[in-house]
């Protein structure tokens, strides 16, 4: 394979600082939006971006670990998990502050069960993850419909405050999610689990022979992703004043988009957490910008799709050393 000199600089940057592109992109779009807005309302836009970006980031982090475990690994049950977990949490809490922790625990436990079920299908029946998580998502979504039909329970006031409140103008949820991202970055880069997941993503066979507990690690990864989706479902219900069955819809595409735009390799084995935040801001700001410019919903979707393809193309040319 011949090395193309021209692309080498960009590719080198993509390797050493893969998260950079998403932040640069977010900044550019932010600037365009501001310009279209006659340079006003910057504070508002940033606050909104942090609030909405936090939800993208939460599901994105879970999805990132799944994608890291290698080609073919993906969790399509995110939206259904969000819907079911949100409904379970709101019912358990029943609007009472005292029940916040039990409700959160119940929702996360539901997420854990969904993730376990996903991996059970993948491992026991040897179904490709894309099919396994898609079919389990139908089951989960049906459960959510049965369980949550006509459900309209307001979130406990304290939880709603966390989801919508601000400290010094910064959304509390964003602070929580940034802390979460820091913790998960440490997990990815410094923990035995993170190292194992990146090993599996590069060469599952070699990982097994190198003593990595492949089955356990993959199980943990699918469970983790579903738990993050469940947490997102709880916060989303708290944020929007109650759970609704379709509130997870947009998070399927978004969870994958923020991972890819954030510089994680779709081929597995090479990931980063900070890029997810950059991509989450980017994605929200992109929607804001298109709104500001008066672009319709359909065109927005097309733009998002095109951008994901463009990012994969730009970041996809992974260079190798000598053969």
């Amino acid at each position: 394979m011949t090395t193309k000199r021209s692309a080498a600089g960009l590719a080198g940057l993509a390797r050493s600082a893969p998260w950079l592109f998403s932040f640069v992109g977010a900044l550019v779009i932010f600037a365009v939006t501001l310009a279209a807005n006659n340079w006003s309302g910057a504070g508002q836009i940033i606050t909104a971006a942090l609030s909405f970006g936090a939800f993208y980031a939460i599901v994105g982090i879970g999805q990132m670990f799944v994608i890291t475990t290698g080609p073919g690994n993906i969790d399509l049950s995110v939206p259904a998990t969000i819907a079911l977990a949100g409904a379970i949490a709101m019912t358990t809490m029943g609007g009472s502050d005292a029940m916040i922790l039990p409700g959160l625990a119940a929702a996360i436990a539901a997420g854990f069960l969904i993730g376990s079920f996903n991996y059970l299908l993948i491992w026991l029946l040897r179904i490709p993850p894309i099919i396994a998580t898609l079919s389990s998502s139908f089951i989960v979504q049906s459960l959510a419909i049965v369980y949550g039909r006509g459900l309209r329970i307001a979130p406990p006031p304290f939880l709603a405050e966390i989801a919508t409140g601000r400290v010094l103008g910064v959304p509390i949820l964003a602070i929580v999610t940034i802390l979460l991202a820091v913790v998960m970055a440490v997990v990815l880069h410094r923990s035995v689990y993170g190292r194992s997941v990146t090993a599996i993503g590069q060469n599952i066979n070699a990982a097994d022979l190198a003593g990595v507990r492949v089955g356990t690690m993959r199980f943990a990864t699918y469970a983790l992703s579903a738990c993050f989706a469940a947490f997102c479902g709880v916060m989303l219900a708290a944020f929007s004043g109650g759970a609704s069955l379709n509130m997870g819809e947009e998070y399927l595409l978004a969870s994958i988009a923020v991972v890819v735009i954030g510089g994680t390799s779709v081929a597995g084995g090479f990931s980063n957490v900070s890029g997810i935040w950059g991509a989450a801001l980017f994605l929200y700001l992109l929607i804001t910008m298109l709104n500001t410019l008066g672009v319709g919903a359909g065109l927005r979707q097309i733009f998002t799709g095109v951008i994901i393809v463009a990012v994969i193309t730009l970041a996809g040319g992974r260079k190798k050393g000598r053969g």
Binding site: M1, T2, T3, V186, R190, S191, V192, Y193, R195, S196, T198, A199, Q202, N203, N205, A206, A207, L209, A210, G211, V212, R213, G269, F270, R318, K320, G321, R322, G323
Partner: protein, 496 residues
Amino acid sequence: MSPSASSDRPIVELNDVAKSFGAVKALDGVDFSVRPGECVGVVGHNGAGKSTLMQVLAGTLAHDRGEVRLNGDVVAASDHSVARAHDAGIRCVFQELSLCPNLTVAENTRLRHGSIRGFGWRRQAARLIATKLDEIFPDHGISAGAVVGDLSIGRRQMVEIAANFSATESEPRLVILDEPTSSLDQQVASQLLAYVKRFVEAGGSVILISHILGDIFGTCDRIAVMRDGLIVEERPADKFDRHSLVASMGHVTDEDTPAPQSQASESQRRGEPIVSARPPRQTDDQRLELHPGEIVGLAGLAGHGQTALLRLIHNAARHRSRYASVNGKIAFVAGDRQADGIFPLWTIGQNVTVRSLSALSRLGLLEKGREREMEDRWRETLKIRTPDMGDNILTLSGGNQQKALFARALASDAEIIAMDDPMRGVDVGTKREVYERIRQEAENGRAFLWYTTEFDELVNCNHVYVFRNGLIAADIERDQLSEQKVLHASFEGEAA
């Protein structure tokens, strides 16, 4: 094949060619040429630059400096490509096999030969490859319709070789064989070398890279010795002898040193074995046993169930198995580096420490300092040739990658090390270092399971099991080991 005998112009000619990978100078000004009708041997230690030189010849790498001439025409570095080299008749069989495992033998052949097209291309390709396989390896037993991934590594190598020697529109004029015999058993290897001689007599040219000096002496007209990115000696083959050739490679070695007597004697073979296993299809009560401090060899022809049993034992250390009981931790040294060993996105250091992650961590978090310390210690111990263990693993030459895989296993807490023919394509000097290391480790109580296709390596073992058709066919003790015995057990019942 009828090259014009009148033109004695070199097929390929290199003048002062250099190539660097980062700080590593793989080639440092090489002059080299090959004329029609000669077989040139290239020898040297790992990292001497042989593979890089061949990649420049084959057009897969562009040179940084110097001049490359194909059939007399200067080719600029930017113009040099596989297609260009291919047009000049250069074919290359690399150490890392380049067949698509999901396609059949015939389909892979089609990929090499663009002129096969139209209806019935599968049949044409099948005929082409089958004819060549018959010509080089009579009784090869490979079906053109077989999926490559299902073939043993030896047979894949045979397909690769035959595909490169077959001619369609453009004929092969210079075929580069990089360690072609290392994954072939001896009978097939000698068929190949005999074919190479016929090919050269008919006017073709071959570059043969091999660590088996007998192959080089028996086949080549001229030998080039590489060391540190340079050709340090180049003479007709009959002007070298075994000793002078090894000497010019730079390692002071004595080929005739008798195999060192191992400390562990049979009398130690008492008490509970830490590994006891039998192949699933074994019908008699023959078992493989391994005791602490022992080196046990798995011999036989390539691909006769040795690797399968090693993997079975490796898995049995974690999950129950009907066929094996393992009382200890086990580490695996891969022979097929790309498929079973290397993590290509990681640094050399990460590739070494991956087997020891839990030992290097506290509360699930890795301790950077201790990881770094392990990396540097094993770079020193096994003399891994790199300026920085933080460089990507693929910056290393094949032999040094293999050292990193050894370091991974030896640095771990495993009491048992399973080795899957790990010395394929590794030079004599490195081999000796590693043998010495294995003996030391065995004296300290570690146990080794060693699958090898080279008889010379079996003399390091206390006990040898010979495999045939997936079964243990013979169980030979150290003091009764002879090449005759191993061969006899490998072939018995099959030869007419």
